[in-house]
């Protein structure tokens, strides 16, 4: 049994991207505010899981599992604090997403748009499934898991992710 941490990290770690701290905080806040505010007036946009997409992006680009999981935990806890449920639900889910996304980035070329599409779709599905499992197991909530709906939303989020990631690429510190 081997963990993700046992992979040869230096293989692609030298390609990790740097971002301005203000950019990281600003993008994270915007993603959360989007969930809080924009979805209220455009109901269809409430299915856009921007905090998740941002978590996946930064985790992929940093190529550091620890940085990814800490970022995921932070944005997840922030999202939790503005939700109805106990604090920690989104925190746990996004911690795992950040960790796995960063671990994945050590093995694949995260600059490929097609791969980004697949990864965004996969992590959206993983996020929704894990959240559903936790809600049932830890909180005893009898939530429904509509597979078709999650798959469709996963595709939509993945498409948005490709364009969002292209925009975020421009905010990287170059040189």
């Amino acid at each position: 049994m081997t963990g993700f941490s046992e992979y040869r990290e230096p293989v692609r770690k030298d390609r990790s991207s740097m971002f301005n701290v203000a950019v990281i905080i600003g993008i994270s806040l915007l993603a959360i505010l989007f969930r809080v505010y924009v979805s209220r007036f455009v109901p269809y946009l409430q299915y856009l899981e921007l905090p998740l997409l941002v978590t996946v992006y930064f985790s992929l680009m940093w190529r550091s599992p620890i940085a990814g999981l800490l970022f995921g935990a932070a944005i997840g806890l922030a999202q939790d604090s503005l939700s109805q449920l106990p604090v920690g639900m989104f925190g746990i889910v996004k911690t795992l997403v950040g960790y796995f996304a960063a671990s994945m980035s050590l093995r694949v070329d995260v600059g490929n748009p097609l791969l980004r599409l697949v990864l965004a779709f996969f992590f959206f599905f993983f996020h929704e499934l894990l959240y559903w499992v936790l809600a049932r197991a830890l909180l005893g909530q009898a939530l429904e898991f509509d597979v078709v709906r999650v798959l469709v939303l996963g595709i939509l989020n993945a498409i948005v992710a490709v364009f969002l990631y292209q925009f975020l690429d421009r905010l990287r510190i170059t040189g």
Binding site: G3, F4, S5, E6, I32, L33, R35, V36, Y37, S39, R40, F41, P43, Q46, E49, P51, P65, I66, L69, L70, A73, L77, A78, Q79, D80, S81, L82, S83, Q84, L85, P86, V87, G88, M89, F90, G91, I92, T95, L96, Y99, S103, E128, Y131, L138, L139, Q141, L143, E144
Partner: protein
């Protein structure tokens, strides 16, 4: 041990982070307490921002919606001068202000007539939960809001307060899947439990046996059993009724969301009211005032009688001519008899006047 942690450093941090959050979750679930500090920080940071954005959006939205309405008028009057445009723009700003005032006024009218004591609030945002129907309002403990208070609109119930902060609160909407409340049907007084379906505009009524009678189109009202909503508030109209295995499957269209959800009322002191007998009507019907006792301009002789054999004007004229014919010994329809003098007052008509 140290070498083990170094070797599995990433995994160790992951396990630590997950465990810490699990403990946090377990503490909240076990003690039913909230991690108040984190929430207060987050909500405190977001609320002012959301409030400013909402004010800006509301102002801009009303301004432009009214302006574009006017643009159509302006197309018909292309020769209007630039000065007039500027004045119109100023006018639109005032209209936007008035529109907001009108909404607030309708809410205030409802507040005035409602027996319960309420506080008006504005919805400033959604919460971040997946699929949860929870919104944030701009009133909190400073306005006397407490967790568990009922939230309504002039059209019906809207939700309940779940978390309260200084200047904002979380409202669990009735459309949320976890929402439940006691209801009673209008005609047959059948008690049930309302539950949200997770999408807007509809809900279902549970715990009503197949033997109990509920009709399509019947209204459900709050029963007051849940100790949240006062009795007698409209919940919704039954759209579908099916027989289930043991309980009926009843779906209702919610009345509280008919006109959108921008402003709500929080019931600070609820008063139970009886369930109305008449069905809720959405359109006010204009009724004319009853006619005056004296129908001026029409002589009593030709006023329609409501009783007796002569019930119409035609009957009355026919009777008058018959008496006129008898008086002048004229037989109607007989040739060579000429026509009677229709201007001669009939004796029979004169009698009542003399008495």
């Amino acid at each position: 041990m140290e070498s083990f942690l170094n070797r599995y450093r990433n995994l160790s941090v992951l396990v630590a982070a997950i465990l810490a959050q699990l403990v946090l979750l377990a503490y909240q679930v076990k003690t039913n307490n909230d991690v108040r500090l984190i929430r207060v920080w987050s909500v405190g940071a977001v609320t002012p921002l959301a409030r400013w954005i909402e004010k800006g959006r509301s102002g801009v939205s009303h301004f432009f919606s009214d302006y574009f309405v006017l643009l159509e008028v302006r197309e018909e009057n292309r020769r209007m001068k630039a000065e007039l445009d500027r004045i119109k723009m100023d006018n639109q700003y005032l209209r936007a202000e008035l529109s907001t005032a009108n909404r607030a006024e309708s809410l205030a009218i409802f507040q005035k007539h409602s027996p319960s004591k309420t506080v008006a609030a504005h919805i400033i945002g959604n919460t971040t939960g997946t699929g949860a129907k929870v919104v944030i309002i701009d009133r909190g403990s400073n306005s006397g809001i407490q967790p568990g208070m009922a939230v309504i609109t002039p059209d019906g119930i809207a939700g309940k307060v779940t978390k309260v902060f200084a200047v904002s609160s979380f409202i669990l909407l009735v459309t949320d899947q976890t929402f439940a409340g006691g209801v009673i049907s209008q005609n047959n007084r059948v008690h049930g439990t309302f539950k949200g379906l997770g999408y807007e505009g509809a809900g279902k009524i549970e715990h009503i046996q197949n033997e109990q009678k509920v009709d399509q189109g019947e209204w459900f009202y709050t029963s007051g059993d849940d100790r949240i909503f006062p009795k007698g508030l409209p919940v919704g109209e039954v759209t579908t009724v099916h027989q289930g295995k043991t309980e009926k499957e009843i779906y209702v269209s919610l009345s509280g969301f008919k006109n959108g959800l921008e402003e709500v009322l929080i019931i600070v002191e609820g008063v139970h009211v009886p369930i109305p007998d008449a069905p809720v009507t959405n359109q006010s019907v204009h009724l004319l005032a009853p006619p005056p006792a004296d129908a001026g301009g029409i002589s009593p002789a030709v006023q329609p009688l409501q009783t007796g054999p002569l019930s119409t004007d035609a009957d009355r004229i026919k009777e008058r001519w018959r008496k006129l014919g008898e008086q002048e010994h004229h037989i109607y329809g007989e040739r060579g008899n000429g026509a009677p003098n229709y201007n001669t007052p009939a004796k029979a008509e004169a009698k009542p006047d003399k008495q």
